[in-house]
Amino acid sequence: MGMVRESQFHVLAVDDSQLDRKMIERLLQKSSCQVTTVDSGSKALEFLGLRESNDPNSLETHQQEVEINLIITDYCMPGMTGYDLLKKVKESAAFRSIPVVIMSSENVPARISRCLEEGAEEFFLKPVKLADVTKLKPHMMKTKLKKEGEKVAEEENATSKPEESLVVEMILPLNQELELEQQEPMLSSNKRKAMEEVISADRSRPKYNDITTSV
């Protein structure tokens, strides 16, 4: 009935720097996430199960290996940049619902807007801190809840129990409400952080903790 199972979130982290891969892996583990790290955008796509077919413009979806709840990628990488990877993910029907977060050591407002416009959930300036990673939970929760809701909805339709599907419909709007509440302040605070490099003392928002434990 729309309950979230206690399984861990699985994050795919992409960075060409071995040192940064180690950092982000530890940060995510500390936040109780399962992590897979790869050193390039193409390896990330391969891991997701997206491989280029003969037609370079379309990406076939091969059997998806693992369920990924979030992709976090460095912007500056040789070959495929984080932005290129973001685009490919958002263009793919199978994976566009996976939230993507971009990291960069350079504070370039035009770059940040471009990424956010292309569908990135967040843009983190390096060095990424534990407080930043805590912000990711709601994004991952959103996708998981949605999937759970869809799954249950499917099951309900099969057994045709109208009263139970009502419960599912109630949960989704609640989540969307939370999403709306969060997105505005997050976007502006993120841009503020990026453009002015203001290090706010209270980075971790207690609100998120409430959401994750109560749902």
Binding site: S17, Q18, L19, M23, L27, Q29, C76, P127, L130
Partner: protein, 136 residues
């Protein structure tokens, strides 16, 4: 012994070699990952040795491929930032500025002394090249 290490560490902070990012690193270390800081530091020294060597080689050749130098510096700055090596990060930023300026506006805006040094290096390289030709 521990007190000595603590004192050395404190002085690194006081002199600006390390910044608060290093403390973030330490906070990521725990019983399950007791050697995290050491592992990261090892990666950093490996990275920086490689990058410095690449940069030195590029400069020795008299090669002022600013894009390449800038690329090395970008990587070096990146790992220095991640580990909290504050002074190194600053030096990288300055060096990158010279690279950028060298690219966009020729040598005119690089400080005079630095330009003289570069010119002398070029001359020396030319000299060497000519000698090699003579030898051949």
């Amino acid at each position: 012994m521990q007190r000595q290490v603590a004192l050395i560490k404190q002085s690194l902070f006081d002199q600006g070699y390390l910044d608060e990012q290093f403390i973030e690193l330490e906070e990521l270390q725990d019983d399950a990952n007791p050697n995290f800081v050491e592992e990261v530091a090892t990666l950093y020294f490996k990275d920086s040795a490689r990058l410095i060597s690449n940069i030195e080689q590029a400069l020795e050749r008299g090669s002022f491929d600013f894009n390449r130098l800038d690329n090395y510096m970008h990587q070096f700055k990146g790992s220095s930032t991640s580990i909290g090596a504050s002074k190194v990060k600053t030096e990288c930023t300055m060096f990158r500025e010279y690279c950028r300026v060298g690219n966009a506006e020729g040598f005119l805006t690089i400080p005079y002394l630095r330009r003289v040094q570069m010119f002398e290096d070029f001359q020396a390289t030319e000299e060497r090249a000519r000698n090699v030709e003579k030898e051949a």
